[in-house]
């Protein structure tokens, strides 16, 4: 199921929140089972076969947790840990990387092995890493006594199941088990609804507009002009942020409605002054996972400068690979790793550069690397950059400007400026999005600090309605003549 869908906003969410607190009044275990059931319905909505995988994953990991707790020697504990990590990673790698692995074998050894076309279960990257953190913490003795239903609710909690944040058990379970949180809290409901609406607006009203244009841009890269190439680079940077952070805002907002404070995943990343700062603001819970479970166990920065750089490189290599089964993702991750290393080496000099200048160059660098992240292959990425210099000047094409040709604004202007309207709206969207990322508070800050005024409530209601009314559009069926 998607957050930005009629069934979620109009049926699932009210039913889930209402049912959860109602059943908590009767007996908390009923509410927990209900929440687990609803989370699994959310997960399996598009493809019930996915349910089998997540249920097996939850059962195996909980079983490993019991075995670790029951093991009376360190050796036995370690054996269970290693087995559990291996099984998790094998399952993860099988679904995510098998075809990537086969393609590389074919390329290197000039073979023609058939691809398996294994469908990637939704959210497997997230729930695998979430459970890995749990199992490793259990081995370290950092996990309390949790029953199966509580554990399953922690893993399958629908707000963070499909696209994060990667939540630590110590963040979720104590809140979940706290009896005070089993009763509805109207302050949390208010701020939760506010944050959800703002996140939904980021996704539906901003990210999806860019997305509609960007998809065509990457397909048509070889023929685009220079302004289109520039739009592609900046547009994807904006699309990705508004989409991913909007989703996380929604997750946090929904969590709040359930009286669960989920960890923030973004902190205005495009305001970063340098690459190190960027990674303290972008996908925070993934950075936290790699820091806790890869970087620190490898020695972190405690084993000399060279080892530190190697550790950073390994973490970002893995991070790139985690994002997708393609060398473009690995390249993206490795580039960030190298830049972080350089940032560390030249920290003194970089710190002397005025923030506005270093921030500008950081933003440009991040923009450039996102092109590799998005491109299906290196050729497409290089084509986009090449067209920036060789594409020539010209108007932005319809496939870009039509994405911003909002019917509601068109309706208000009623034919005025009809010719320049789509282009003007494109400009407005890009400038507005840049203004938001550079100069405004992010949604988490806003919801935490702003007063819950009547005006704010009206705006939230309007935003929610505007988003819901944007879930479906009217397609154009262009007829391709001879």
């Amino acid at each position: 199921m998607l957050f930005n869908s009629y069934i979620f906003v109009l049926i699932f969410l009210p039913l889930c929140v209402g049912g959860y607190f109602f059943l908590n009044k009767i007996k908390p275990i009923f509410a927990s089972v209900f929440l687990l059931g609803m989370s699994l319905w959310f997960y399996g909505y598009f493809n019930p076969k996915y349910l089998l995988i997540i249920c097996i994953s939850i059962i195996l990991n909980y079983f490993a947790y019991i075995l670790i707790n029951k093991a009376n020697t360190v050796t036995r504990k370690k054996a269970v840990l290693v087995t559990a990590i291996t099984v998790n990673l094998l399952l993860f790698c099988w679904f995510k990387y098998m075809d990537f692995f086969i393609s590389n074998i074919n390329a290197v050894f000039k073979q023609n092995l058939p691809l398996l076309h294994i469908a990637l279960p939704l959210g497997i990257s997230f729930f695998t890493f979430q459970q890995l953190s749990f199992i490793i913490d259990a081995y370290r003795g950092e996990v309390g006594d949790y029953d199966y239903i509580t554990y399953a609710c922690y893993v399958a909690f629908f707000p963070q199941l499909v696209a994060g944040p990667i939540v630590s058990h110590s963040e979720f379970i104590p809140q979940f088990q706290n009896p005070d949180n089993k009763k509805p809290n109207v302050d949390n409901l208010a701020r939760g609804i506010n944050l959800f609406a703002l996140g939904l607006a980021k996704k539906v009203l901003i990210a999806d507009r860019f997305g509609a244009a960007i998809d065509s841009c990457f397909v048509l890269a070889p023929s685009m002009n220079a302004p289109s190439a520039l739009f592609t680079i900046i547009g994807y940077t904006l699309q990705l942020y508004f989409d991913f952070s909007g989703y996380c805002d929604m997750a946090l907002g929904i969590g709040r409605m359930f009286n669960i404070e989920l960890p923030a995943n973004f902190n205005s990343p495009y305001k970063a002054r340098d690459i190190a700062d960027f990674w303290k603001r972008w996908h925070l819970t993934l950075t936290r996972f790699f820091t806790r479970y890869v970087y620190i166990p490898l020695g972190g920065n405690r084993k000399g400068a060279v080892r530190t750089y190697v550790n950073i490189f390994i973490v970002f290599f893995l991070s790139g690979l985690w994002h997708g089964a393609n060398w473009t993702f690995v390249f993206w991750g490795v580039c960030h790793g190298i830049l972080l290393i350089l940032n560390r080496i030249f920290k003194k000099q970089i710190d002397k550069i005025p923030s506005i200048i270093s921030g500008f160059f950081t933003f440009i660098t991040v923009n450039i690397l996102w092109v590799f992240f998005r491109s299906p292959d290196f050729g497409t990425a290089f084509t986009v950059f090449k067209r920036l210099f060789t594409g020539g000047f010209g108007a932005l094409p319809d496939y870009i400007t039509e994405a911003f040709n909002l019917p509601e604004i068109n309706f208000i202007l009623r034919g005025s400026f009809a010719n320049i309207f789509p282009l003007a709206m494109t400009g407005v969207f890009v400038l507005l999005a840049l203004f938001i990322v550079f100069f405004t508070r992010n949604n988490c800050e806003t919801v935490a600090t702003k007063k819950m005024t009547v005006l704010r409530a009206v705006i939230t209601g309007i935003l929610l309605a505007w988003c819901v009314l944007s879930f479906e559009s009217v397609s154009s069926f262009l007829y391709f003549n001879f």
Binding site: D187, V454, L469
Partner: protein, 368 residues
């Protein structure tokens, strides 16, 4: 704090519900796509969006005959069909529609109307090599919530700002301005929007850009594709409704189309495809098959066409008369002779005579 938050929640949800219910109610009541009911007499409706309105017309209008097909059938006038055939018809064309898409719509019409006595449907040679699953557009671009009887997914229709601002508001504005509901004659009719004649055809036909495809024969797999497409997406429906007469005709493209496929090196392919398609269609009790390529005066006159294929509404009117008269009807006994005659003509035609000395500029026969 709690009272402030409570007020916030109440106001937010109230504003949200009021807005979506207001928009939803207006769209549901006015129903610009006729999903719930036929046009209400108090409103005036534009008819201008076939993939959004065809199914509504099929579901809720009063009719016992249908004109269906592709852009070639958009210029038919149901009023002419009605007076010639003594029926009450609707027009349900899909520009760029595959046989599958048109068939799905007709199946829907039959499922919601027991009285259909007559269907007119064009077959495009341009689609000769489609298979039974062919569509021109991605599946997720269709408003499938309008194509079924599931009320739950109608949220995509009524809670849709684009429908509201483009369609619902158009009805309101047209009504307030004292306009009229569009007629089915004018529905999707493009006749006045394009220039006909050599200049019109020239805009889209660049003879020098046509290169041979290298395909000269139809493979066995392609024959199976054609068979599957015609059988599943045309014949099957006729077999399921033996009480209905299906008039299936091959759209008369211009002579410039045949110059085009000759340039592709595919004259034989199209010849064999048409022959095969006709062989599948003729001989069915309730399918009457027509093809008009023997009408040289029509197909060789560029002023009947806006491009190599699309003829004017006058030709649509003529086709209706011919269908009524049984003129150029093909049967199991004569279709082979028809194919021999017309393809002999297309193979031997002096296409260069249609063009100026540069071989590209289309000559105006009026200046010859």
């Amino acid at each position: 704090m709690k009272s402030v938050s409570k007020k916030f929640v109440i106001i937010t949800l109230s504003v949200f519900l009021v807005l979506i219910i207001a928009v939803g109610t207006l769209t549901a009541v006015i129903d610009p796509y006729f999903h719930f009911h036929a046009p209400l007499s108090v409103f005036r409706y534009p008819l201008n969006n076939e993939r959004y309105q065809n199914y509504g017309i099929a579901r809720n209008f009063d009719y016992n005959a249908v004109i269906a097909g592709t852009s070639m059938s958009e210029n038919f006038k149901p009023s002419e069909f009605d007076s010639l055939f003594n029926v009450k018809s609707v027009k349900l064309p899909f520009s760029g529609g595959s046989h599958l898409e048109v068939n799905e719509e007709l199946e829907f019409a039959f499922a919601h109307n027991d009285d259909i006595t007559c269907v007119i449907r064009n077959v495009d040679l341009f689609r000769a090599f489609d298979n039974k699953e062919s569509r021109d557009y991605p599946l997720d671009s269709y408003p499938t919530y309008l194509y079924d009887d599931n009320l739950l997914n109608d949220v995509g229709y009524i809670f849709n700002k684009e429908v509201f601002f483009k369609a619902t508001s158009s009805v309101i504005f047209r009504t307030l301005r004292g306009g009229q509901t569009d007629t089915l004659d004018s529905y999707m009719n493009w006749n006045s929007f394009y220039p006909f004649g050599p200049a019109g055809i020239q805009q889209n036909y660049h003879r020098d850009a046509v290169v041979p495809t290298g395909k000269t024969v139809i493979t066995d797999a392609e024959y199976e594709d054609i068979r599957g497409n015609i059988t599943e997406n045309i014949i099957k429906l006729a077999d399921e409704h033996p009480e209905t007469t299906f008039y299936i005709y091959v759209s008369p493209y211009s002579i410039y189309f045949f110059d085009y496929i000759k340039g592709l090196g595919e004259l034989d392919r199209y010849q064999n495809a048409e022959r095969f398609i006709l062989s599948l269609l003729v001989g069915h009790k309730n399918i009457r098959v027509f093809a008009f390529y023997t009408e040289k005066e029509i197909i060789c006159n560029p002023y009947n066409y806006r491009d190599v294929a699309h003829h004017s509404q006058d030709i649509n009117s003529q086709i209706l008369k011919w269908l009524k008269e049984g003129h150029d009807e093909l049967t199991a006994d004569n279709y082979e002779e028809y194919c021999d005659t017309v393809w002999d003509f297309f193979h031997n035609y002096d296409y260069d005579s249609l063009f100026a000395s540069d071989g590209v500029t289309i000559l105006d026969p009026a200046n010859k």
